[in-house]
């Protein structure tokens, strides 16, 4: 499987994720959230940042079901679901992820008919610290 190629701006996200915390970069001056992480606040141009913990609750904004040809590890689990989750605490922040039946489960572990735009989801983390999403009402 592909693992995140972490840069300086994104490193805190992955460090928190490894501890089971979903945190989003925020401006330490004007408090606006931003994603993906970057060095400077696009609202006030401050370089002071903090990482704000969010509830990890969200709704599916959209989703796709990739079919092969895909990279081998992904082809083996295809068709699987990639969801775009809009965070309840921060509606403009959307995270790409997988909808699964439990932490670390296969990417195709939720039946296709269970997925719909608007469904409520909750974050979980794989043992390697990758955020994943569970349906609140499976």
């Amino acid at each position: 499987m592909l693992t995140p190629v972490v840069d300086d701006d994104g490193a805190p996200f992955w460090e928190y994720a490894a501890r089971g915390e979903l945190r989003i970069q925020a401006c330490a001056d004007c408090a606006e959230l931003r994603f993906p992480p970057r060095p400077c606040c696009p609202h006030c141009r401050s370089f002071a940042t903090e990482w704000r913990r969010v509830s990890g609750r969200g709704r599916i904004w959209s989703y796709v079901r990739p079919h092969p040809p895909l990279l081998p590890d992904y082809a083996e689990q295809a068709p699987y679901h990639v969801v775009l989750v809009e965070l309840t605490d921060a509606p403009r922040i959307r995270l790409v992820g997988n909808l699964v039946s439990g932490p670390g489960a296969r990417l195709d572990s939720v039946p296709a008919e269970r997925i719909r735009i608007g469904a409520r989801v909750q974050v979980v983390f794989t043992p390697t610290g990758l955020p994943q999403w569970l349906l609140e009402r499976p």
Binding site: V5, S62, V64, H67, P69, R92, R94, L95
Partner: protein, 382 residues
């Protein structure tokens, strides 16, 4: 102040054959397409003093100038973001010529995509860091990235697979009229479309562009010089690039509104500097790496209101004789996928009156570059 409007014209177009596999190198194909375009214009290679292409173009201007015996170059430019750069190559040349930095410009794209590597397949190369937010989850290919927007558009506005089929069919029908197209003499039916395999639901095989080897080029000169060339000049009436605020590559999921992509930004500038409105456009060549880009672009360029891009395709609107004949050489879906450069050359043929699917008396054409990525567009007129 120098003005771009109608100050320059495209006076030559050239291309190689298109095929799944061509034996020659990208460099050789580039040279052939450029020589064909110069021959079409009746301009000698040593008169060329400006070049423009894509940052993804493997054959650089040094190689082209050396191989073709060009003269001294005083302007050269490369435009980023893959297919988003197509129209900007012409726009950069037009700006250079209109401001006196050069006199004869050539834009080109040469690509072996049919027989060459696909970037997402290479697992040995370290991914670009922005991909850390998408690729680990299996959002691997451009089709997956655009399918996410397509699904949302369907959910929010009732866009259907039949709407996407209308796009695929219009392109295929025009390719069936074009002997140079990969899909010449290969008709598409609704049954074929609906029964084809998925690539990334909701996008199926026929929602995706072709993998093609081939090269194209065009020649740009001043309007004054164009009057003495052997072909009817096709004027660059307006040109624009577009990179919206807070845009992010091909996954602009973090904007306030991901369904208003770069087309909207390019369109605002394009129409602002034009004497034309969308109602004045006779024929359109809209970037079609995926069918789902067409509804988004129809909305962005103002041919219909937000959310109506799917419904716009109904009733044969995109076919010959329809409200907006689309991609009349077959486009990326059915002629060739060469990062959209074939759309530029087809726009020129329409305004010369030499298309294989000629729109009667076509006098204006919109050509657009890749949507979803930082983009560009041209308004051409004769």
């Amino acid at each position: 102040m120098a003005v771009l409007k109608d100050a320059t014209a495209i006076v030559g177009i050239g291309q190689t054959p298109f095929a799944k596999q061509l034996p020659e190198s990208e460099r050789a194909l580039a040279c052939r397409a450029i020589l064909a375009a110069l021959d079409d214009a009746g301009i000698a290679p040593d008169e060329v003093d400006a070049l423009a292409s894509y940052t993804m173009e493997e054959t650089d201007e040094v190689e082209v100038a050396k191989a073709l015996g060009l003269g001294d170059l005083t302007f050269f430019s490369k435009v980023g973001y893959g297919g988003g750069g197509s129209c900007a190559t012409v726009a950069h040349l037009a700006a250079a010529i209109a401001t006196g930095q050069a006199t004869v410009g050539v834009a080109w794209r040469s690509r072996k995509r049919g027989s060459g590597p696909r970037p997402w397949k290479n697992t040995t190369v370290q991914l670009p860091t922005p991909a850390q937010w998408t690729r680990p989850y299996g959002l691997l290919r451009p089709a997956d990235e655009i399918a996410m927007l397509a699904r949302r558009h369907m959910h929010e506005y009732g866009t259907t697979r039949d709407h996407l089929f209308n796009v695929a069919l219009a392109c295929r029908n025009r390719a069936n009229q074009n002997p140079a197209a990969i899909m010449y003499e290969r008709p598409l039916t609704r049954e074929m479309y609906m029964n084809s395999r998925w690539i990334s639901e909701p996008l199926c095989l026929f929602d995706n562009c072709l993998e093609t080897d081939g090269a194209l080029a065009c020649v740009v000169v001043s309007a004054e010089r164009a009057r003495d060339c052997r072909r009817t000049p096709v004027y660059v009436h307006s040109a624009a690039q577009g990179l919206p605020a807070q845009h992010h590559g091909m996954v602009n999921y973090w904007n306030d509104d991901p369904l208003t992509g770069p087309a909207w930004t390019a369109a605002r500038h394009l129409w602002k500097h034009a004497d034309l409105t969308p109602d004045d456009i006779d024929v359109a060549q809209i970037y079609d790496a995926f069918t789902a880009l067409i509804p988004l672009s129809l909305e962005g360029y103002g041919f219909c209101a937000r959310g109506e891009g799917g419904a716009f395709t109904e009733g044969g609107a995109l076919e010959t004789g329809g409200r907006l004949p689309l991609n009349t050489s077959g486009g990326g879906l059915s002629e060739a996928y060469v990062h959209g450069f074939n759309l530029i050359n087809e726009g020129v043929r329409q305004l010369r009156g030499t298309s294989t699917a000629q729109v009667p008396d076509a006098a204006t054409c919109l050509v657009t570059a890749g949507e979803g990525v930082p983009t560009s567009a041209l308004l051409l007129r004769n």
